[in-house]
Symmetry: C2
Subunit: 235 residues, 2 copies
Amino acid sequence: MKKVILASTSTLYNGSYLDYLLPTLANHFVGVKTLLFIPYAQPSGISYEDYTSKVGEAFSRINITVKGIHEFENPIEAIKNAEAIFTGGGNTFLLISKLYENKLIEPLKEVIENGTPYLGTSAGSNIGGKTINNTNDMPIVLPPSFDALALINFNLNPHYLDPIDGSTHMGETRETRINEFHKINPISVLGLREGSWLEVYDKDVIIRGNLTARLFRANEFPVEMAPGENLNFLT
Amino acid sequence: MKKVILASTSTLYNGSYLDYLLPTLANHFVGVKTLLFIPYAQPSGISYEDYTSKVGEAFSRINITVKGIHEFENPIEAIKNAEAIFTGGGNTFLLISKLYENKLIEPLKEVIENGTPYLGTSAGSNIGGKTINNTNDMPIVLPPSFDALALINFNLNPHYLDPIDGSTHMGETRETRINEFHKINPISVLGLREGSWLEVYDKDVIIRGNLTARLFRANEFPVEMAPGENLNFLT
C-alpha cells in the first residue's frame, strides 16, 4: 500500500520551510518517530549536515526526529530500515546522479511501493515521476539515466509557471518546453503550481492544495485539473 | 583562424528572426554564397524543412542561400565541405544528442577551428561552450555526453535573466543555478543577455551588443563585463 506525497515546493512565498504542509504531514507520517532524509539535491550547494538540520527543525514541530542518509555507513540498509523517507529539493540532476551512484533507485522504489511513507518536494518530487525529463533544473552534472522511481504513471513539472503576460523575454515558456518533449516522448506531464501537491495512495493520485494543476498529454490540448481530482486514469 | 559568432538569442522582442544581427552577419559571412544550417534543436518541435526555410528567408536578405544538413546524404561530408555553418536555437539536449548520434562533434569542431565561419544562436551558442551544463533547456532527451565544441574556454548561459524584483516564485534564479554548478565544477560561465553576442576571432572573445554580460567564476563574485571587452583571459 503506497503512501506518498509529492509537493511542488517546500516553501511558499512569505512562508517558512515546509510550514504550509505540516498539518498534512502530521497526518501522513502519523506514528512515525524517525524520518530518513535524503539531502543529495543540495539547494544552493548547502552541505548535507546543514540541510538535514534545517529539515530536522521543521519536523521537530510535529515531534519527528530526522536523520540524514549520509549519517549511515550503508545507505541501502538505511532505506530498507527507514520508518519514513523524505527527499528534499535542490538540483534534480545532482540528486538522481547520487542516487544512481549509491545504487539507491531500486531499494527506494521497493520500500515505497511496499508502504514506507514518502515525501518529496521539488527535486524530490521530480524523482517520483517516470523520468526526470521535465525538471526545470540546470544540468550541472550528467546522470547515467533520466529514469526515476515511477511512483506515478506520469512525469512532474514542479514550480509550474504560467506564461507571463507582457513578458519581453524570448526564452521558451514552460508550456513550449513541455510541448517540445511531447514531440519525442508520449509520457504525460503534470504542471504542479507552488502550493499544490499530490497524495498517492496505492493507485489513487489526488491533487491537493488550492490551485488547479495543468495536465499535458501528447497530441491533446492541455487541461486544468481541480483539487480533489484523481489522476489514476493516466496510464 | 577561428571566426565565430555566438548569440544569446535569434530574435529580439518585437523583432523578426535574426534581423538585429543581419548587418553583423553580412560582414561575418562576407563572400559566402551558401550556408549550411543545422536545424537539430527544432524549437517548438518544428520540422527540419520548415526551420530551414525560415532561416533561408532571413539569409536571402543578405544574398546567402541556405541548405539544411538533413538534405545531405552524408552529414560529415556536408560539414567538411561547408563554406559557412549556422546552428539554430531550440532544445540543446535534442541538438547535442543528434550531433553525437551523427558523429558530428569532432568534424564540426575541426572545421570551425580551421576557419569555416560559424554562427550559433541560443542552443547553437550553448554548444560553442566547453559543455552544455549551463543550458536553460528542459532535458527532454539524454545525450551520451554534455561535452560540447569548446570554441571558447568557458560555458554560456544564453537568454540570461536577472533576478526579478518582487517575484513570488520560489524556483531558483539563474544566478542560484550557476552558483550550484560552481560548487561541483570550476568552468567559468558567461550569462549572455538577449541582444548580446560574442565575436570570436582566434584567441579573442569580444562581447558585442548594447548590454553588459555577467561573468560567473567559481569562488569569485560575479562581475559585469562591458561590450567591447575581451574574454581571452579566461582559461
